[in-house]
Amino acid sequence: MTWSDIAPLLWQATKESAYMVGVATVLTAAGGLLIGVLLVLTDRGGLLAARPVNAVLGLIVNIGRSLPFIILLVAIIPFTRAVVGTTIGTTAAIVPLTVGAIPFYARIVETSIREVDRDVIAAARAMGASRPQIVRKVLLREARPGLVAGLTITVIALVSYSAMAGVVGGGGLGDLAIRYGYQRFENEVMVATVLLLVVFVQLTQMLGDFVARRLSHQ
């Protein structure tokens, strides 16, 4: 294959990857934050202590975390159809990506929020802050550097998961590497894909580190 053959393939795959990972990241951030906060709040001694809720939530998160992504991808096909109306294609891949990444990010969110100084939470309560105020102005705000660093890790995990999206015809760089690089022995495609992925991961990490550092006032 010549470069003029490879270039459009790479461009198409890059767009697919960016779309999948981009949309999945936004959805994962929202879902992970929500579940992570709930995990902290409902835990023993939390602001909304409710052990049964916490136990169920923890179990769901753990199940999500224990399934290998490739299994999850296939296992939730009926759910995917219910949500986006199709089980094939890039959009269909976003559903399992999000479902797989939310529990991952939720645990990171939970850990980051637990790092927030208990004295500060107690002080906010003493000042009469409501629970929503404490969540928004204390927990999420104080944990921000950790939340951003965790989201960076999650995005990179999503890039890695998205390599398996080819199974449902999701396309993307990982799929390109498998189909051309691995199955057709097109080494140039393999190398180009890997290089693109390395560059993407590197840039994501640098951006994440930069933002986290800017937000941290330790």
């Binding site: 100084d117 004295d119 002080a123 009469g128 802050a129 102005k137 104080e142 006032h217 330790q218």
Partner: protein
């Protein structure tokens, strides 16, 4: 309330931390800014409004904590071991600030501490707690002068008992003008050894404890000890 470890939001500046309770109380933004400036000036941090807690010293952090606690114009300020994490010099400056606020704003300060120095320096009255119970309470000068009070024992510490053969060692809680050593020596014509002591002038009177050694056995000294007791001194035989 002010806290031992300051409990400031690390993600907010000094001004942001002081603004926090105002936000919680629903004070409108423009009023908040004015009030924050006033409060920071009040605690002597006017110039560090934009500094983050990590950029402030312990004493400055506690000043932010005090400004934050005053935001709601409380009538009582609860200080929970507020100087326990500070060095002695900074402790002094924070105590001065508290004293000043107490007088200028007519603010009652309920101060929890294990530092006897702090009690002696700024408290008007005190309640001593042991195992969750108040064991004694009253005005500080009064309690310091009260024979055998735990507060006096805590404030006026005496070291280990020296080994002094042929002598009787007693700890005397000083009362009155503080002339009992000379008086004792004169009355009984004996040598009174001062072995240790801590005496201060509080509210015009001498308070403190002095450890003395009298020649002879406890039996031989009975009359002298009785004399001391009769002139208003509390005695303890140190273990």
């Amino acid at each position: 309330m002010i806290h031992q470890h300051f409990a400031l939001l690390s993600s907010r500046t000094a001004a942001g931390n002081v603004a926090f309770p105002l936000e919680v109380m629903g004070v409108p933004r423009h009023e908040r800014a004015t009030r924050v400036r006033e409060l920071l000036d009040l605690v002597g941090l006017g110039g560090r409004a934009d500094a983050y807690p990590a950029q402030l010293s312990g004493g400055q952090k506690q000043r932010v904590g005090i400004a934050r606690a005053l935001a709601g114009r409380p009538s009582v300020l609860l200080s929970d071991e507020a100087t326990s994490a500070l060095d002695p010099e900074t402790t002094g400056s924070i105590l001065e600030l508290l004293r000043d606020l107490n007088q200028r704003l007519g603010l009652t300060i309920l101060l929890i501490t294990h530092e006897m120095e702090v009690v002696k320096r700024i408290c008007d009255s005190v309640a001593v707690m042991h195992d969750g119970r108040v064991t004694e309470s009253g005005a500080v000068p009064e309690l310091l002068a009260r024979p055998g009070s735990e507060l006096a024992r805590g404030v006026f510490r005496l070291g280990p008992v020296p080994d002094l053969p042929g002598h009787t060692v007693v700890d005397v809680t000083v009362a009155g003008d503080g002339t009992f050593v000379a008086e004792l020596a004169r009355t009984f014509d004996i040598e009174v050894r001062i072995l240790g002591g801590s005496v201060e002038t509080v509210a015009g009177g001498r308070v403190g404890r002095v450890r003395i050694g009298l020649p002879g056995t406890p039996e031989a000294n009975e009359a002298r000890l009785r004399h001391l007791r009769e002139t208003g001194h509390a005695l303890e035989v140190p273990a």
